[in-house]
């Protein structure tokens, strides 16, 4: 009966998830500097070539899809990280992964790193991925040197984060006027979203998310503790490496094209956990959906709050996310501290 209940729950999550995503998407397509009615949107989507089609198809639709992909990727990465480290306070940003990815991306943008010239379109994401993996390894090594406690993990993650942010600033200064584009990108925004990027990020994120989802049940077992998980026949070391690579990849994909968008990876899994508990078979799908909703809504807010000017979406997520993080920290200190 428990399995049956969870199965039903998953179905209703998916069902409601699709409805809410569609509603938010329609709002996102319709609202902005110019308003476009729902009827027209539907017409454009089914192929009518009317006025406004350009805005919808070339600007708002890529932007909307980017928000969904980035929200899904960062939230899944956060949810997985929290389970692997058995610490609900980590996310790709706090763990230093995103700063590493940002550094990799900036180096590639500013200096046009030739290392990946055969893959020119993929130069930025690949370099971001390497940056993310490097930062994550450093965080883990420092944390282990500091005793491996949950606190040492967070502290070393913050230190690595600062280190890579500083390196990023340095790269921007050295890059001179070549850094101008990178500078805006860093704030985090969906303005520059394009089909060319999406053609890469959608398949890559989908495959990685699928890989993670396939391991949902094994992630559950890790929550029991390493020895018990190994004792249950789970190859904990292998699973951990696979997941660390996956979450670095997801973070790198999100950061490469849309810059720094903080706190989604922390807040979305948290909301999902409050709703469905720790079972990754429910937690991962709901985190992915929640992350998409949060970014769709934040992107809308970034366009509407000070229209016609546009705020960086990263600023909005951080404004909303920081208090939630503090709340989590305080509550946790009270409960298990």
């Amino acid at each position: 009966m428990m399995t049956q209940a969870r199965r039903l729950r998953l179905l209703s999550i998916i069902f409601l998830g699709i409805i809410l995503t569609v509603i938010l998407s329609l709002a996102s397509l319709s609202l902005g500097a110019s308003r476009i009615g729902l009827g027209e949107i539907v017409g454009i989507l089914v192929g009518e070539r009317v006025e406004g089609a350009r805005i919808i198809l070339d600007i708002r639709l890529p932007r909307l899809l980017s928000a969904i992909v980035v929200g899904a990727s960062l939230s899944a990465a956060g949810a997985v990280m929290q389970g692997l480290f058995r610490n609900p306070l980590v996310d790709p940003y706090i763990g230093g992964v995103a700063s590493g990815a940002a550094f990799g991306a900036v180096v590639s943008m500013v200096f046009g790193l030739s290392l990946f010239s055969p893959f020119s379109t993929y130069g930025i994401p690949l370099s971001a991925f390497l940056g993310a993996l490097t930062a994550l390894s450093m965080t883990l090594i420092f944390s282990r040197m500091g005793g491996g406690s949950p606190l040492s993990l967070i502290l070393s993650g913050i230190a690595v984060s600062f280190l890579f942010s500083a390196a990023t600033s340095l790269a921007l200064v050295i890059g001179g006027e070549k850094s101008f584009g990178a500078f805006f990108w860093l704030f985090g925004s969906f303005v520059a979203s394009s089909w060319r990027h999406l053609a890469f990020t959608i398949p890559a994120s989908t495959v990685t998310l699928g890989y993670i989802l396939l391991h949902a049940r094994r992630l559950n077992v890790i929550l029991l503790g390493d020895e018990e998980a190994r004792q249950l026949g789970v190859n904990v070391a292998l699973l951990r490496y696979g997941m660390l690579v996956s979450l670095s990849l997801l973070t790198a994909l999100a950061v490469s094209f849309n810059g720094i968008i903080g706190f989604v990876g922390l807040v979305a899994p948290h909301i999902a956990r409050l709703t469905v508990g720790e079972d990754y078979r429910l937690l991962l799908p709901l985190s992915i959906l929640t992350g998409s909703w949060l970014l769709l809504a934040s992107d809308l807010a970034s366009r509407l709050l000070m229209a016609p000017a546009e705020l960086p979406v990263g600023a909005i997520t951080s404004l909303a996310g920081a208090p939630i993080f503090l709340h989590l920290l305080v509550r946790r200190a009270g409960r298990y501290g």
Binding site: M1, M2, T3, R6, R7, R86, L214, A216, R217, R218, N220, V221, L223, L224, G225, D226, E227, E228, R230, Q231, L232, G233, V234, N235, R273, G277, E278, D279, R281, Y336
Partner: protein, 297 residues
């Protein structure tokens, strides 16, 4: 006594050259409760971790005649269950989450437990009396309840061998007995139970055989009535005991004796000096010499 299920031959393990176990050999038989006793740091946990194939020691361990190293982890997990002494998992997991994890090695599907898996999970919770707690978070349970949940997880695994580390530590007498009774019932059904116990009387009452470890070596192994003697316990634990025999069960009852001579010289000197220290209340210590307390007020 049942056939031999596990044979341990000259097994040694050291953590970076220190501690661990040295040259331990033993047999574990079908349907027996093997109690493991020994002072802190004598290698009890290390032995269990070797048996669970979590450490790869020197020497050889055979399960049904097959070398432990050659058995795939998942296959081993269907046969053998290990319960570490402390729960180190997420406190926010529910009881159901923990117990259903026990089905992991048996599950065929990729995602959900089968109906049969779920029935076994509920049955295991019922056996341990924790089915009413299914939706509760393990971090919010009492230590007795949590220990039963962890045992239910092991039962859901349906193993033929259970290795359990200090299952009764921190528990009240009733919970201790309930846990030991379940382990004994499992043994009666043919499961081999290896239990690390600190309470010598529980070990004496519930073990078919007892293995005694000291400094990583097996110094004795046999029936409680045969090995639990005053000289052995003095040698292993460094305490004097008086041993009676339970008139009904015929098992040894061990009474540790107080002995001030056991204290280190420094501590003894300190305690001897205590009566000279100022006391705040002299009335609480009739016969005490403390008068100085009053001056301090």
């Amino acid at each position: 006594m049942g056939r031999v299920v596990v044979r341990v031959e000259g097994v040694s393990w050291s953590y970076d050259g220190v501690g661990g176990i040295r040259d331990v050999s033993l047999e574990i038989r079908e349907g027996e409760v093997l109690g493991v006793i020994g002072p802190n740091g004598s290698g009890k946990t290390t032995l269990l971790r070797c048996l669970a194939n979590l450490l790869k020691p020197h020497g050889a361990i055979y399960l049904d005649g097959r070398s432990l190293e050659g058995i795939r982890p998942r296959e081993l997990a269907k046969t053998l269950s290990y319960i570490p002494s402390e729960y180190e998992g997420q406190p926010s997991l529910t009881v159901y989450d923990v117990v259903s994890a026990g089905r992991t090695p048996h599950m065929r599907g990729l995602w959900w437990e089968s109906r049969e898996d779920e029935e076994i999970v509920w049955e295991s919770m019922r056996v341990m009396g924790v089915d009413g707690l299914a939706g509760r978070r393990v971090g919010e349970l009492s230590s007795g309840e949590r220990q039963k949940v962890r045992l239910a997880r092991a039962l859901a695994q349906r193993p033929r061998i259970i290795l359990v580390d200090e299952p009764t530590s921190h528990l009240d007498p009733r919970n201790q007995i309930e846990i030991m009774e379940v382990l004994r019932l499992m043994a009666l059904r043919g499961v081999s139970v290896v239990a690390v116990l600190h309470d010598l009387n529980l070990a004496s009452a519930y073990s078919d055989r007892i293995l005694v470890l000291k400094d990583g070596r097996a110094v004795a192994c046999g029936k409680p009535s045969e090995i639990l003697g005053e000289s052995l316990l003095r040698d292993v634990f460094g305490i004097d005991v008086r041993i009676l025999v339970d008139p009904e069960l015929g098992r040894p009852i061990i009474i540790p004796l107080m002995d001030k001579e056991l204290l280190g010289a420094g501590l003894k000197e300190y305690l001897d000096g205590v009566k000279e220290l100022p006391r705040l209340k002299d009335t609480a210590h009739p016969g005490g010499t403390a008068r100085q307390g009053k001056d301090n007020r």
